[in-house]
Amino acid sequence: MCELFAMSAGQHYTAQEYLPLFADKARANMSGWGIGFFREGQVHIEKSCEGIYAGDHVHDSFQRLARVIGSRIIISHIRCPKSGHQQESQAQPLTDHFLEHHWLFSFTGEAPKKGFAFESPRPLMREPLLASRVFEFIRDGLESQLADWSGSSLYQGLTVTCKKLITQYPGEYAFFLANETVLFAFLNHGQILTYRPPEARGETLVLTTVSGGLTQNSGHWHAYPNKDPNRGQILIISGADLLYLGHV
């Protein structure tokens, strides 16, 4: 299974300590990686179809990017070999512009047994990439929920859309969806772990799907597990705080 990483902060921060740890813990996933972030309202993504590890070393570019990228929200993805594709364009995070924001999307999960037959009128790519189909489903759902804005919230739109996702296409899903202000995390399987780095004095929050977290002491990580795939959870994060935890 691919692995996800995110860091959210009240101001621009680098993830130079935690991105290499993420790479190390997810080193079994050798099929590509990506880092996405925001700068002045625009999305920037650096990704590669090369393994996150070359020999005993974290990929050179990944390491350098980890040191250099500074943003309030950073999302990273390490791709598993099972995902069945090697092209750089299909590495994550993915991005699109809708609801007047640039969004980053990063996904891990398993397709429903009956397949994921959703066809968006506005596909992001032609290739049969599950992450792309799920992103399109979420985007189209949010757009439709919030089309004639009548005071409804992003969370409300996302809840309805995620409920449709797991009802219409029962499978295993976990994703991060972020604009320049807020990060949503959804999961209906596995767990998302959060960690507040002590050295950042409460200014950043790190999230990952890597079991046990990224640091030596897994007790410092708080897990949000989800055992029932028919139900899900949505976390809302902004700055260094988990603002809300809701159930789907």
């Binding site: 009240g10 101001q11 309202g41 609801l99 007047e100 924001h101 804005w149 009548s150 005071g151 409804s152 919230s153 992003l154 969370y155 409300q156 604009n179 320049e180 202000t181 807020v182 959060t194 507040r196 004095r201 409460g202 200014e203 708080h222 809302i236 902004s238 700055g239 260094a240 705080d241 988990l242 603002l243 809300y244 935890l245």
Partner: protein, 248 residues
């Protein structure tokens, strides 16, 4: 009764059109005004004990500030005193720190019982009013809840604080609380009017308590649900992220 205004956008914005309209439509509030925003995460407040609108003219400084203040989040308050004296110190917004962040707070309501509240933390606000004490009450609750911060969503703690506030000091509360990234808007008595995508005012998210809104457009009225303790909005990046009623 005082009135509140907020602008939220994904990027820096001025409220050059809507702020003067807010002051004109709220001119019955004759006991001062204030504008608050953040620059590089530092709160900046300009406030006055003067009337915002007198002798057919807007206060000169308010008018100039409306043209100049440029921030993703702008709060404004025009005061009709129900507690405390009329001077700059008693005008809103107020600033206090908790959870490693500075917060701006602007309040509209009447809660005489909270005037007796004595904070157990420092600093305390110089103003002698229900609004100042209510803000200290919330700050104190968050400071005492800080050990739970790593694993408890912000909203859970805010809900607890509000429930306790209204149980121990019943009254009318209607406030805006912001750390420069998101705005929490709470009311247990008046409605909020919210507008997105204005063609006449700023194309950001605008919120006010002014009964008729600030333009002839389709302002959404968000009111307290039946049987609820109050209604709470989470706003950020120009969106309503979350909208919930609080139940006992």
């Amino acid at each position: 009764m005082c009135d509140l205004f907020a602008l939220s956008a994904a990027h820096h914005y001025t409220a050059a059109t809507s702020l003067p309209l807010f002051a004109v439509r709220g001119r019955k509030n004759v006991h001062g005004w204030g504008i608050g925003f953040f620059r590089h995460r530092q709160p900046i407040i300009e406030k006055s004990g003067d009337q915002v609108f007198a002798e057919g003219r807007l206060h000169g400084s308010f008018q100039r500030l409306a043209r100049v203040v440029n921030s993703p989040i702008i709060l404004a308050h025009i005061r009709y005193k129900s507690s405390g004296i009329v001077d700059e110190c008693h005008a809103h917004p107020f600033v206090l720190d908790f959870w490693s962040q500075s917060w701006l707070f602007a309040h509209n309501g009447k809660a005489p019982l909270i005037e007796s509240y004595t904070s157990t933390h420092v600093p305390v606000l110089k103003a002698i009013s229900d609004s100042a004490r209510a803000f200290e009450f919330l700050r104190d609750y968050f400071l005492e809840a800080e050990p739970r911060r790593p694993h408890t969503p912000f909203l859970d703690i805010l809900e607890e604080a509000l429930a306790l506030l209204m149980r121990q000091y019943p009254g009318e509360y209607n406030f805006l609380l912001t750390n420069g990234q998101v705005i929490w808007a709470f009311t247990n008595h008046r409605q909020f009017l919210v507008l997105k995508g204005s063609e006449k005012l700023e194309d950001a998210l605008l919120l006010t308590t002014i009964e008729e809104g600030l333009s002839s457009e389709n302002w959404q009225r968000l009111t307290v649900g039946e049987g609820s303790l109050g209604h709470l909005l989470l706003i950020g990046g120009g969106d309503v992220i979350l909208s919930v009623d609080l139940f006992p």
